[in-house]
């Protein structure tokens, strides 16, 4: 089996599985971190320890981090919570149309509530037009929402430039960054990034589904999305799960320790695939400087889904647009937004890698693509 669908989700790594086993097996850490007895305080200590480890991975303070259920929850909380709480700063949100649905749907809702949302046009290199961005930011701007690494193309955000523009134009407008695809792949040290809020997901970095993290910089005020017993400094009520926290943090540490090595290996895999595919009937849609872990490619003569199923025959798993929206039978809005021709976008496949993928797999992939062209190509 070749799994090239790591931007959809990843396989839980052994360290994570062991961490979960240890937790469940210990029999002593099931206490509610909110309880006042010994069992509770032990759980609370362990929970705080997990927070500290996460903070050290992300280069921030532990009281700036919250465990969530997923990346989407983080986006919802940060975006809605910030603009609702900070109306005095402004009423206009700036974003792009290539954001994940977890952002776009929230923005749609906020628009219906009376907020103004402006979308920065995208350039063909997958980056927002910074000139337009600079023009758009005005006194009414309250929040900028961007994605660190696009989940469909791997396009990298020129974050430093954006922070600089924000600092020049309107200092108190916050920046929310969707880091779901960049976590574990890029060096993320939140303290120095100029970002005010960020969301992360566990299952994209070999943890398990059901856990994510939200970063809210100290001093930034955000209304919580989930109300209740006031856990996690009133920011995210609901009894904390030590197991999920452990699964998240272990995955972060593991990813951090193997990040450089993975980057080098996957860069080579990516370069190889780009070269081989470009010499065939395929068009690379990811920008040249994209994160090497994502490679979007359009195969001439094969609709996305047909190619996906052809590869499936050989136990090779990839994805068409983003996995969440595949069933809707639409052409990727991300690709269309960056100016890709509709026909080419309709044939696009996303290959997404993780640190475990190898050059051997890439070679086999290319061999299978050739076989598929021989056996299954139907030109209309």
């Amino acid at each position: 089996m070749i799994y090239f669908d790591n931007s959809a989700t990843t396989r839980p790594c052994e360290a994570v599985i062991k961490a979960i086993d240890d937790q469940l097996g210990s029999g002593e850490l099931y206490g509610n971190p909110g309880s006042l007895h010994k069992l509770g305080t032990n759980a609370d200590k362990a929970y705080n320890k997990a927070l500290e480890r996460a903070a050290s991975c992300l280069g921030c303070n532990k009281n700036e981090l919250y465990f969530t259920s997923c990346g989407t929850e983080g986006s919802n909380t940060a975006i809605r919570g910030f603009v609702h709480r900070n109306k005095r700063i402004g009423n206009t949100i700036i974003s792009t149309k290539t954001e994940h649905k977890a952002t776009l749907e929230v923005l749609k809702l906020l628009e219906s509530e009376g907020f103004i949302v402006k979308y920065v046009p995208m350039l063909s290199n997958g980056k927002p037009d910074l000139g337009s961005l600079s023009d758009m930011i005005d006194d009414d701007t309250v929040l900028l929402c961007f994605t660190h690494v696009n989940n469909e193309t791997g396009a990298l955000l020129p974050l430093e430039d954006i922070v600089k523009i924000r600092n020049e134009k309107k200092r108190d407008a916050a920046i929310f960054l969707d880091c779901v695809q960049s976590l574990g792949k890029l060096d993320i040290k939140l303290r120095n990034m100029g970002v005010d809020m960020a969301t992360f997901s566990g299952h994209k970095i070999h943890s398990i589904k059901g856990v994510g993290m939200l970063y809210i910089r100290q001093g930034i005020k955000v209304d919580p999305l989930i109300l209740g017993g006031g856990q996690q400094n009133n920011m995210r009520s609901g009894t904390q799960s030590l197991i999920l926290a452990e699964a998240m943090v272990t995955a972060m540490e593991e990813a951090e320790s193997r990040r450089d090595e993975a980057y080098v290996n996957i860069s080579a895999v990516n370069a190889y695939l780009r070269e081989e595919l470009a010499s065939r009937d395929a068009k690379i849609l990811s920008p040249d400087d994209a994160l090497p872990f994502v490679l979007n490619v359009s195969f001439d003569g094969f609709e996305s889904e047909t190619m996906l199923h052809c590869l499936e025959i050989y136990d090779i798993f990839v994805s068409t647009v983003s996995a969440c929206s595949s069933k809707a039978k639409q052409v990727s809005y991300v690709l269309l937004e960056t100016g890709v021709d509709r026909k080419i976008a309709a044939n696009s496949i996303r290959l997404s890698f993780c640190r475990d993928n190898t050059m051997e797999e890439a070679k086999e992939f290319i061999g299978r693509v050739d076989e598929i062209y021989d056996l299954y190509l139907v030109k209309r």
Partner: protein, 398 residues
């Protein structure tokens, strides 16, 4: 203590002469099969009506009228049933009838607060009952009028008719749910339905089942051009058809290689017709195996290129079995309406790639001639294709 029972009425079946008994036995057997999930039931006939009652007092499906409505709906989906009513069955004298009628009407008004007028119709089968039918009407009507506020009598066009029947037991009911009519499945032989995943073919299957036909179905699967989801969708559609048509087998033919061979070795503009000819031959072979005596398709004249008179003529030639096309003269809108009525529409319009639009030519021949098909098939080993199609089949019991 009243029990909820269902009164179902037979239609066309009762017009049958000497064969009537066979039809009735089949209908009862179909009801039994269709209602098997609702616990142990007693299903018996009295004249042109069929009574359906729970055998056990504790049967949860008949416990209240809301849950019994689910059974009622299933009853109306059995071909041969014209209509059915949810009925209360109880014992006692006119006082008991009065009380039950009031309770029934109160319940009915909760469901239909718009009802303002009513009348009572009574039948007395038990001639020893002291009141005759007009007297029962009068008594029960007056009693309801007095005890249920806000209602008045309207004998010409009431909002509802309260039926009271006195036989070995007493019964009250109002209104009826229309059934799907037709003849009991199993009285008209078996047909092999070509099921594609679109809107038409499930409707075609439904229509033939309504004439008493038992069905099997065949689907041509072209993985990887069509996905597993597309196949699942066809399985779902087969399940919907089988609500009406009863048990069926779905034959999933692995069609990919056959299509690729055709694609590579015959002209584009005849591809659909060549393909359909092979499909029909495979379907006929499968039909012979399964005991079906005809093929059924969802074709409608002129709907697409392969459904012109010439194209149909040329596809017809390759099989001996009759091909039934119940939708041939139907408007698409009417087909969609039927599809909605049988609950298939939402599934039919799911977006998974159909029986391979990948292979459809941009400009197929709409008026193919004999020379065209001869030319199109000259480099194809049709017999081998048919054989391999029949051999590579997955059978799914629906």
């Amino acid at each position: 203590m009243a029990t909820n029972v269902i009164l179902a009425r037979m239609g066309e079946v009762t017009l049958k002469g000497l064969n009537r008994g066979k039809f009735e036995i089949q209908l009862k057997s179909n009801l039994k099969y269709r209602l098997r999930q609702f616990g142990k039931l007693s299903i018996y006939q009295s004249q042109s009506r069929i009574w359906i009652e729970p055998k056990d007092e504790g049967n949860q499906f008949f416990a209240d009228e809301d849950s019994a409505r689910e059974v009622l709906e299933a009853v109306t989906q059995v071909f041969g049933i014209v209509s059915a009513s949810l009925t209360r069955k109880f014992t006692g004298d006119i006082k008991a009838i009065d009380d039950e009628a009031v309770d029934y009407v109160e319940h009915l008004l909760k469901l239909h607060p718009e009802y303002k007028t009513f009348k009572v119709e009574a039948k007395r089968g038990d001639k020893s009952f002291p009141l005759n039918s007009p007297m029962i009407c009068e008594e029960v009507g007056a009693n309801v009028l007095e005890r249920v506020p806000g209602l008045s009598v309207n004998v010409k066009s009431p909002d509802f008719i309260l039926n009271v029947e006195v036989r070995d037991f007493n019964y009250v009911y109002a209104g009826k749910v229309m059934g799907h009519r037709g003849l009991p499945v199993g009285t008209a032989g078996k047909g092999m339905l070509l099921l594609s995943g679109g809107i038409d073919s499930p409707v075609a299957g439904y229509m033939m089942a309504s004439r008493g036909m038992t069905l099997d179905a065949v689907y041509f699967h072209s993985y990887p051009y069509t996905s597993e989801q597309a196949k699942e969708k066809v399985v779902d559609l087969a399940k919907i058809v089988s609500r009406f048509a009863g048990r069926m087998n779905l034959y999933v033919v692995n069609f990919t290689q056959i299509q690729l061979d055709m694609y590579k070795n015959s002209p584009q503009d005849m591809l659909t017709i060549t393909m359909r000819r092979v499909m029909l031959q495979i379907a006929e072979k499968l039909a012979e195996k399964s005991g079906a005596k005809c093929l059924i398709t969802g074709e409608s004249l002129g709907q697409v290129a392969s459904q012109t008179l010439e194209a149909i003529g040329i596809t017809n030639e390759v099989v001996k079995m009759p091909i039934l096309r119940p939708l041939i003269g139907m408007d698409k809108e009417a087909t969609c309406e039927l599809s909605r009525k049988i609950g298939a529409f939402e599934t039919s319009i799911l977006p998974y790639e159909d029986c391979c639009t990948v292979f459809v030519a941009k400009h197929p021949k709409t008026h193919p001639k004999h020379e065209d098909i001869e030319f199109a098939e000259k480099d194809l080993d049709i017999a081998a294709m048919v054989e391999s199609g029949v051999a590579d089949v997955e059978i799914i019991e629906i």
